[in-house]
């Protein structure tokens, strides 16, 4: 079953001045995401990743305006026909800057806000809050205020708040930019857990190639509003020239194989640290293959 279905999808923001047309922010998007898939969106600044994220919960074009054409189907709904508020129950969107999303005096009140607005019973709200806090490993912090949290913790609260709506799909727009390595690792661990335990469909815009290689099922690389490459990490990260064109760095270890080849040593491609170690040790033991 498809969670996301975009065909011949074009979008441009409203023009800045009358009688002018803004350039297309998304052009000819062909994208299908299966339910339960974890897809990483990569690409240069301004490639259209955020716009595509917002198109997946209907904010584009319902809140942004502008001109749109093509198929834009999310969880079986025509994303332009269903109000964003309704789509938001099924599609959770987490932005880059958690500060822009957090406003309650405590973590548990923040996470309860969405379910309270669904008009659920007190018990049902409490269950959802507990569940979301458990999933994001936030129970010890539930009474804290947002200002007492680190960047990674704040971002996990933002994800928990989205999760408490029990969406079928989670879209995260560069949730780790500006976070330190610990915060980044915390956020990725949470996403991996959601994929493994809940079979959540996840679309994640990110620049973190090493983490993507470790946990994403697919890499979709965007450039200038189009999809340049759509492949599993092992294939995607073997195309450094194409990635460079899109301003994306593959994980460092996947560049090692190419650098060794230039020096006359042929090794099978790898894109994770463990694989690289195994391949290079193998070469040591069996120098002639």
């Amino acid at each position: 079953m498809l969670a996301v279905e975009f065909h011949e999808f074009y979008y441009r923001y409203p023009a800045a001045r009358p009688n002018e047309a803004a350039p297309y922010a998304l052009r000819g998007i062909e994208l299908e995401v299966e339910v339960g898939e974890f897809v990483a969106l990569m690409g240069h600044t301004g490639a259209g990743k955020s716009t595509l994220c917002m198109a997946m919960n209907g904010l584009v074009p319902q809140a942004t305006g502008g001109a749109v054409r093509g198929v834009q189907r999310v969880l079986g709904h025509e994303a332009r026909a269903v109000p964003v508020a309704r789509l938001a129950r099924q599609v959770g969107l987490v932005f880059q800057d958690p500060e822009s999303q957090l406003f309650s005096p405590s973590v548990e009140q923040e996470v309860a806000f969405g379910p309270e607005n669904l008009g659920l019973s007190v018990d049902a709200i409490a269950d959802r809050v507990d569940w979301a806090l458990d999933m994001l490993d936030l129970q010890p912090l539930r009474k804290r205020g947002p200002t007492q949290l680190s960047g990674g913790q704040k971002q996990r609260v933002a994800i928990a708040a989205a999760l408490a709506m029990q969406p079928e799909m989670l879209i995260l727009d560069e949730p780790t930019s500006g976070l330190d390595p610990l915060g980044t690792a915390e956020v990725f661990a949470a996403i991996e857990r959601l994929c493994a335990e809940r079979e959540m469909t996840v679309v994640l815009a990110t620049q973190e190639a090493e983490q993507v290689a470790q946990s994403a099922h697919r890499v979709v690389v965007m450039s200038e509003g189009s999809i340049l490459l759509d492949a599993p990490p092992v294939t995607a990260f073997m195309q450094p020239e194409l990635l460079a064109q899109a301003g994306v760095a593959p994980p460092q270890v996947s560049l090692v194989a190419a650098a060794l080849k230039e020096r006359g040593i042929v090794v099978p491609a790898f894109h994770r640290l463990d694989e690289a170690e195994k391949a290079l040790r193998g070469l040591w033991q069996h120098p002639h293959g």
Binding site: H44, G178, P181, A244, I265, E277, L280
Partner: protein, 279 residues
């Protein structure tokens, strides 16, 4: 002895009720390309703001190019210290890119011709000529970042303080930006780069400082710095991936201080040939 760009001695600073710097001691030599790393909240930005006088120590002192910052106004320090903020939009306010670049030099009360010359150099140096008459707000993030850097460049500071300048840039734009600073470094400028990106730190910096809980707890060249496994783990940092690979292959003879892909491939190829008599 090399000239000092900055000297911190016993520097303490606290925001209302929250300690931020708890005894910082270090010297930044003129002409260095130094990285400052550490977790969010460890005090990096607070330290950086002591360099341009935005903050003054509660106790201890900071000297910039030999003079105590407490005896200098922010405007005076701005001639020597260029501060690039994490978010370019905190810096940019003019209606045209050209005006944004002219703002600083005009404030230095430079003659009109000199202001124009500096604006031209900044436009060309950062590839912004085509955008000179456009409103910065209409440019994409990467270009706004360049405008904010070019505006600081037009002030001709000796010391550039870069507060996570690549946080929201893609890989290519981050390299392009830091290549500009590598060039400025080669021309003799001092660079202090705050970053969470250990690959960029390994690639560009010649010295790395680690901050933890308001203190500098490690200070070494990148190779030796990233070799301090226990200390890094304590600070929740890890070396660049290629260095972790080299460390794992230490038993084959890979140097643990291998910082880049090319250095790794060179070392591995040499070892492999030696071991297999194939070269």
């Amino acid at each position: 002895m090399a000239e000092l760009a900055a000297r911190f001695r016993g520097v303490h600073y606290h925001y209302p009720g929250v300690p931020a710097l708890e005894g910082v001691d270090f010297e930044l030599r003129a002409g260095e390309f130094c990285a400052l790393v550490g977790q969010n909240g460890s005090g990096k930005s607070t330290l950086a703001k002591h360099l341009n006088g935005l903050l003054k120590p509660v106790s201890g002192f900071v000297e910039v190019f030999g003079r105590d910052t407490r005896s200098q106004a922010v405007g005076e320090l701005a001639r020597k210290v260029g501060y690039v903020f994490q978010n370019p939009d905190h810096q940019i306010f003019s209606a045209r890119v050209r005006d944004e670049l002219a703002f600083g030099p005009r404030n230095l009360r430079l003659p009109h011709d000199e202001v124009e010359r500096r604006v031209d150099e900044a436009l060309d140096g950062f590839g912004l000529r085509a955008y000179a008459d456009m409103p910065p707000a209409t440019l994409g993030f990467g270009l706004r970042r360049l405008v904010s850097v070019a505006a600081v460049f037009a002030m001709r500071p000796s010391l550039f303080v870069l507060d996570e300048p690549t946080a929201e840039l893609d890989w290519r734009s981050a390299h392009e930006l830091l290549d500009h600073f590598r060039e400025l470094h080669q021309q003799g400028h001092t660079i202090l780069l705050i970053s969470h990106d250990m690959e960029l730190v390994a690639e560009y910096a010649e010295r790395v400082l680690l901050m933890q809980a308001g203190r500098i707890v490690a200070d070494a060249p990148p190779g030796a710095f990233f070799g301090q496994t226990a200390r890094l783990r304590e600070a929740h940092l890890s070396p660049p991936q290629v260095m972790r690979l080299a460390q794992r292959l230490g038993d084959l003879g890979m140097p643990p201080e291998t910082l880049t892909v090319d250095a790794f491939a060179d070392a591995f190829a040499r070892l492999w040939r030696e071991a297999h008599h194939a070269g």
